[in-house]
Structures are given as C-alpha cells and as structure tokens.
Symmetry: C2
Subunit: 249 residues, 2 copies
C-alpha cells in the first residue's frame, strides 16, 4: 500500500518541482529550513487512501508526483469529490490545524509525497514567516478553487459543468507541468467525475458523449484530449486567471 523510502530521498536543493518556473524559488535559508522540516518521503500506489475523513493527521504532505483527490462521504455512502490534487499541492493542513479532518484524500495515480511533521509546523510559523505566508497563499488559493467549484455545482448545467472541469483541470495540469498542452492524463473514472460534478454516472457519461460528438474533446484510455478549446470555454463560460509564480512548501 504505502512504502516509506528514506534511502532514495530527494534533496530539497534539487527538488524537481523547483525546475518549473510556475513555482517560486526558495532562498538558501528557507531551503535549509525546509530540509529540516521534511521528515521523509512516501510513495503511495494508485487507489490508496492517504488521509481519512474524521481522523486527525500527524503529518502534512506536499505532492511531488501524481494525482489525487479530496472527498467527503455521507453516512449513506453518497460521495462528493471536493477538489483534485496535483504536484505542488499541500495536503493535510486542515487536519493539522483543526481538530480533525472533514475530508479524505485518495491517490488516483501512483504518487510521491514529501512528509512534514505536524509538530514542527509551529517552528515554521515562528522562524519562517515567509513560509507561513506561503501557507496562507496556498490556503487562499484552495479557497478560490472551492468557490469556483461551488458556483459550478450550484448554478451551472450538466454540459457547462463537464466542460468547465475539463478545461480548468487541464490548465492546472499544464501550469504545474503535470501535463503537456492539449492532452492530459486523466486517472479518474466517470463515476468519480460524476461525484465531482454532483451528477449521476449515467448523465455524466451522456454529457461526455455529446461533447465528444461535437468534436470538442476526446477521452479514451484515461487520457483527455482537448480538441476544441474555444468550444469548451464557450460552453463552460470559462475564465481562468493566470497566476504569478506560486509558492509551495
């Protein structure tokens, strides 16, 4: 399920994420601190649960590789996917700061995570205010994505919803270097997409087929191909603000 690998631990100095210009650089002192903050790496396989709703978490993670999602489940089994997780994202902050996690986090593909200890979080605040600020940036960004998701679920039609997530996810993936322009690996089932959009599986499928029939996109073998970006954006009423280089921990 999970495998902690201390041996092939990456040195933060050569963190692969930092090569991507979308992520802001660290100064040497910050880097030194991050190194001490990091307690290890963990690799989780596709399908496994990283954090569980209702529990508290002793660790915070930064995603280095792979995709996952945050979700929330009702007692009767209804599930809602809250947001997708990709490289550079921080997970477990809610569980570290509040008493317990209101959501679960699952890996959709194999993932590689950096592990930070909850106990050391306070030293981040007290010694590195710039990193604390980045944490706040990350939390605000997550809030912005949730806001967007809320208007999608509350006010957009099925067609708009599907088009909207696809373009948004594509742009996020391109930004973080997780996918090339135009094509992206999409390691999710239609059931999961339905659970994201607040739609039934059947209706999600029919909507996808309609978009494909229009030549707007294609989706086979867990890969999404954006064939007509303009069409998708128009349907979705999409409007994505490009971000300045973003922080990560």
């Amino acid at each position: 399920m999970r495998h902690i690998s201390h041996r092939d631990r990456h040195d933060c100095t050569h963190c692969p994420l930092r090569k991507n210009p979308a992520f802001r650089p660290f100064d040497p002192e910050q880097l030194e601190f991050i190194k001490s903050f990091k307690v290890g790496e963990i690799s989780v396989s596709a399908g496994s649960t990283i954090l569980t709703q209702g529990q508290s978490s002793e660790a915070i993670y930064t995603v280095m590789k792979g995709w996952g999602f945050r979700s929330k489940t009702l007692d009767d089994g209804r599930e809602q996917i809250l947001n997708f997780i990709m490289p550079g994202d921080l997970i477990g902050l809610q569980g570290a700061v509040l008493e317990e996690m209101g959501h679960s986090v699952d890996a959709s593909s194999d993932m590689l995570l950096c592990v930070f200890e909850r106990q050391k979080l306070w030293s981040l605040f007290s010694k590195f205010p710039s990193l604390a600020y980045d944490l706040t940036w990350l939390a605000s960004r997550e809030e912005q994505l949730l806001d967007e998701h809320l208007i999608t679920l509350g006010r957009r039609s099925a067609m708009e919803r599907v088009a909207h997530v696809l373009v948004l996810l594509h742009d996020r993936a391109v930004e973080t270097g997780a996918a090339p322009e135009g094509t992206m690996p999409f390691p999710f089932s239609q059931q999961q997409l339905a659970n994201t959009l607040g739609l039934s599986l059947v209706h999600t499928n029919k909507t996808l087929r309609k978009l494909a029939a229009r030549g707007a996109m294609a989706w086979r073998d867990r890969t999404f191909v954006m064939m007509d970006r303009n069409a998708l954006c128009e349907i979705a009423k999409y409007d994505y603000t490009v971000l300045k280089p973003r922080p990560f921990i």
Copy 2:
C-alpha cells in the same frame, strides 16, 4: 452607504467579541499589536457591497456585528452564495494574498467591521507568528465550511439542503453569540437562500413550506425559529463538530 467612524472607535482591549468564551483570549502583546494593526472601524448598512468580485482589496476586515455573505456571479447574472459571514469572521484575505478577489462580499444587515491595512499584513506574519497561525486556522475553518457546502450542493436533495443550512447557520450563530438558542435573526430573502442552495426560488419556497407544515421550523419576519431540532437534523443528516475556542483577529 459606508461610514468611517474614527471617533467611536472601540478599544481592542475591550473588544466585545472577546467577552464570548467561544473566542480565544489574547495575551497583552498580541493585543498591543492588533491595536496597531487596526486602522479604524467602518459601519456598512444592510444591502451594501463591501468587496467586489474582480477587484483587489487594500483592506482586510473582521466582523464585529451583523451578518453578510460571500458570493460569486457569472456574466449572465447567475449568482451563487458561497458562505455566510458573521461576527468573528475575517473577510478580504483572499484579495490581500492573491492578486484579485474571486468573490464579492455583501452586508445583509447593518454591520460593524474592524479595518486592517493590507500593507501591514506582512508585519503580522513577521512579528506575531501566533496570529499568523490563527489566520491559517481561520482559513482552514473556512475551507471546512466550503467542503460541507460542496457536498450539500452536489449530493443532498432540496429538503436535505434546506434543513442543513438552517441548522448549520443556527449553530454558527449561537456559537458566535449572534443569536440565542432556538431562534435566530435571518436577514436573507428566499431568493438569497435559493442562491445559496443552488435551487430555484420557487422550489426553495415550497420546500420551506413543507418543513413548516411538518412543524420542524417556522420562518416569519426574517426570523427563523427552530421548532424541532431532531427532525431537522435527521432530514439534514446533520453532524456538526463543536469547536474549541476559536481564534479571531
């Protein structure tokens, strides 16, 4: 519309919010800093807009009195209310940290706000890590509420949705001292409730009538009376975690 009142400015030492045991106390140094961080007070009248979607904000606010809401609007006019705002809540952080605000904030009742300057935010991080931590707490708490709202919009039926917001809002109001147990002022129109729940006005109204007919609740004159909490909770599948004393700025 708005009225800046420097004269009757409250001294943070006797901040009315702090009397409420739900809010955690400050130590003297923190208090001193907050005093210097605060640049004034503002009172806004019911119905006015405090922050506007798409703009950036030069200020951050803490709510002292009154209720409001955060919302997001599409170009064609469809509106989604993202969350309600009540005493102790912080607004404008997203606009201060990111480039621009993705949402608007409106006052539903007359409100009294403490104003903090965006420029001084950095000094909060560098000099008072404990307050920076509180900021993160607040952001995490907001995220938790948005998560809950997402599963409401995505997976709950109309009846469940209505019952759920009512109980949740009631509990939040009681917690912050904005309302006594069982009854709460509800300064929102049914149209706004509909925009919160992702439902049409008509259907929201019919659902409210059904709940009233069951004797679960009553709502007249912008006041909500919770008549049968158990019934509402059961319908809503409600499950609210009581919080330890919460921070505020």
